[in-house]
Symmetry: none
Subunit: 119 residues, 4 copies
DNA sequence: GTGGTCTAGACCACT
DNA sequence: GTGGTCTAGACCACC
């Protein structure tokens, strides 16, 4: 994790975990590492791991079984919704930003096409 | 202008000014409002305006004539470079973010096409 | 520390800290005093300490771990580069300045030799 | 002149003029341009030219004949003294600065020798 | 009038 | 406790 960054560490890790869930690296219902394990894995303070799970639970991405740990939500539709929300944010930021810079819709399409070919 | 709380006000205004320069609303060599005027315009503290101009000068977007004021850079290539840098950041964030979410290049193209038609 | 009036205090302290880093009084990776401690040490305002650390971070002399503090860069090559940059500036100012005053290279050498013997 | 510089414009021009006097480009007793001419030559405000001559007169580098203009001092020893003062400042800044960076006297001599050979 | 610096004091999110 | 941001108000040199 990049401590030297304007994005809070807990946010950076939440995004990592969300991506792992969306791409299937973490399956629905799978147990997540304990707060202590997470703290060690990312060399962060256990308080910060706690905050990560609290926030993810608030967003209903995970749920907690007392005494057992934290688990990925079992709702596939919830996971799909997260993917859509994250995608929508990315799309909006991109289109809005480029438009403000004076790029037309045609330019956007050709830029993305070119980007795709290069990879 | 109403400010997004999570991004510092001075950053938001810098981005506004950058966009104004890129889109030609502010011409190369043009004088910017004085720190005091800017403070009134955006209802911010003059210190904050000062910080804005200092940061922009550091990025060579503007230059200062002592005792006279702050001016937009006269280098058209610098302005072009800023536009390209900002666009490249937007493109990278978008493509990288979407790819991490599992979207293919073809999907990106069709998403952008669809977005364009809606507007 | 007493401050030279014509140079901003924050600049003078930055130069002090740079020298401490270059001469090894501050080691790579070492934690710097907190902004509040620095403010007390030099009897300056905490705002001014903050500015010092922000500027040094911009120059990549230090880095910040959010919520933990400010640390000397761990890159030895960066430190070496800072030393070389500062030395190069001093050398250029000296040679350029003396040449403009009509001193020849031979005179420079003998002046420096004489200076060395006196100390 | 470089307006975008932490050194005040009037200081920059005074230094230019001092160098011209020291190197003989301006002879003892020679008439300097009028404040208006100076203002045009350097595209500065006439107030600034006035300040330049006032400051140089205070340092006894120039003198004024009412209604006739401003002239370079006729004292050769004064000119020699200015040269020595400027040189002494340059030498001190250099030796003090390099010593603080950890350079030894031997290193200074070899650096200056190397610089001389390159030119 | 212009930007630059500094103090004082406050609030904030993050670890 | 850590740095980051902001306001308020002051003073300064420079043009």
């Amino acid at each position: 994790m990049d401590f030297n960054n304007s994005i809070p560490i807990y946010m950076q890790i939440i995004n990592e975990l969300k991506k792992d869930i969306i791409t299937g690296k973490l399956s629905p219902g799978e147990k997540l590492p304990s707060t202590r394990e997470l703290a060690i894995k990312y060399s962060i303070n256990p308080n910060t791991s706690g905050r990560i799970y609290k926030e993810m639970e608030r967003e209903e991405i995970t749920f907690t079984k007392r005494g057992l740990g934290t688990f990925v939500t079992e709702s596939e539709s919830k996971i799909e919704q997260i993917r859509n929300d994250m995608a929508k944010d990315l799309i909006n930021d991109f289109v809005k930003g480029m438009t403000e810079l004076g790029y037309t819709n045609e330019m956007l399409i050709s830029i993305i096409k070119k980007e795709s070919e290069e990879k």
